[in-house]
């Protein structure tokens, strides 16, 4: 599944940078019914985590009240050049990863 990551490619050491992520997912709430009255089973992303050079810097628990195609924006301090790793985990064994690299001067 496609994920869009927005991380500045360069930053000065100590800068506070914004990380924005968007992933495509239906986020079916499990509270909706079809026209013939059947409950549509829940299918959501339940957790998101971001690691910066192996250390977890941000984590989120998501619920059905998060809109489809979950968008998350958060901040971190640019410490070292390296890699951000992103992971989404959800119902029905859903799992996606993405990564982005940054150069810190």
């Amino acid at each position: 599944m496609a994920a869009l990551i927005n991380v500045p490619s360069k930053a000065r050491r100590g800068d506070i940078i914004e990380i924005r992520t968007l992933t495509s997912h239906i986020m079916e709430t499990g509270f909706r019914h079809t026209a013939d009255g059947k409950l549509v089973p829940r299918d959501i992303i339940t957790s998101f985590a971001c690691r910066y050079n192996g250390t977890e810097i941000f984590r989120a628990d998501l619920f059905p009240a998060i809109a489809a195609n979950p968008y998350l924006s958060f901040f971190t301090v640019a410490k070292d050049s390296g890699k951000f790793e992103f992971e989404w985990i959800g119902d029905n064994g859903y799992s996606t990863t993405a990564s982005a690299s940054i150069t810190v001067e």
């Binding site: 709430t29 909706r32 026209a35 989120a60 998060i66 809109a67 924006s73 901040f75």
Partner: protein, 155 residues
């Protein structure tokens, strides 16, 4: 015997009643303020929740409850001694009171999280911040929703 108008009408209405399948089953599935309180207590425990420090940016009037932009920020220096551990967002009237839990740390630099949420009704949204000194701070915002999310029928 010719059918009178009265007989015909009573027969016709009988057919209509029998022919009507109860398709519309609008269940009032929504969280109640009591469920909101329970959800908050599950996170906070017995601790006192104070007002302030937290800012919740959400439009006061939304046309489409399916995607409502929301930003929570907390006034915090985000140092090792004084930072925001987590931010929890709740609602009053969706089928479930939780919206999201966000875990931060001193390396976040700034205590601010944005996402897009669903709102099933005109209601109150509550954001609670858990600080490193184990105090809890909250803010609430009222949102008017004209098109509800979460429970509508699929096509």
């Amino acid at each position: 015997m010719p059918t009178t108008r009265r007989q015909f009408l009573s027969l016709a209405s009988g057919v209509t009643v029998a022919g009507t399948i109860p398709i519309v089953t609008l269940r009032p599935i929504e969280a109640t303020p009591a469920m909101l309180n329970t959800a908050i207590r599950n996170v906070v425990g017995e601790a006192q929740i104070r007002s302030g420090k937290v800012k919740l940016d959400i439009p006061p009037l939304v046309e489409n409850g399916n995607t409502v932009p929301m930003t929570v920020s907390v006034a915090s220096p985000m140092t090792a001694d004084d930072h925001v551990k987590s931010i929890h967002v709740f609602n009053e009237k969706n089928p479930q009171p939780n919206i999201g839990n966000f875990y931060l740390g001193p390396s976040s630099g700034r205590a601010q999280v944005s996402t897009r949420i669903r709102l099933a009704d005109t209601q109150k949204v509550v954001a609670i911040a858990h600080l490193s000194d184990d105090t809890f701070w909250q803010v609430a915002a009222d949102v008017v929703v004209t098109l509800a999310a979460c429970t509508e029928e699929t096509n």
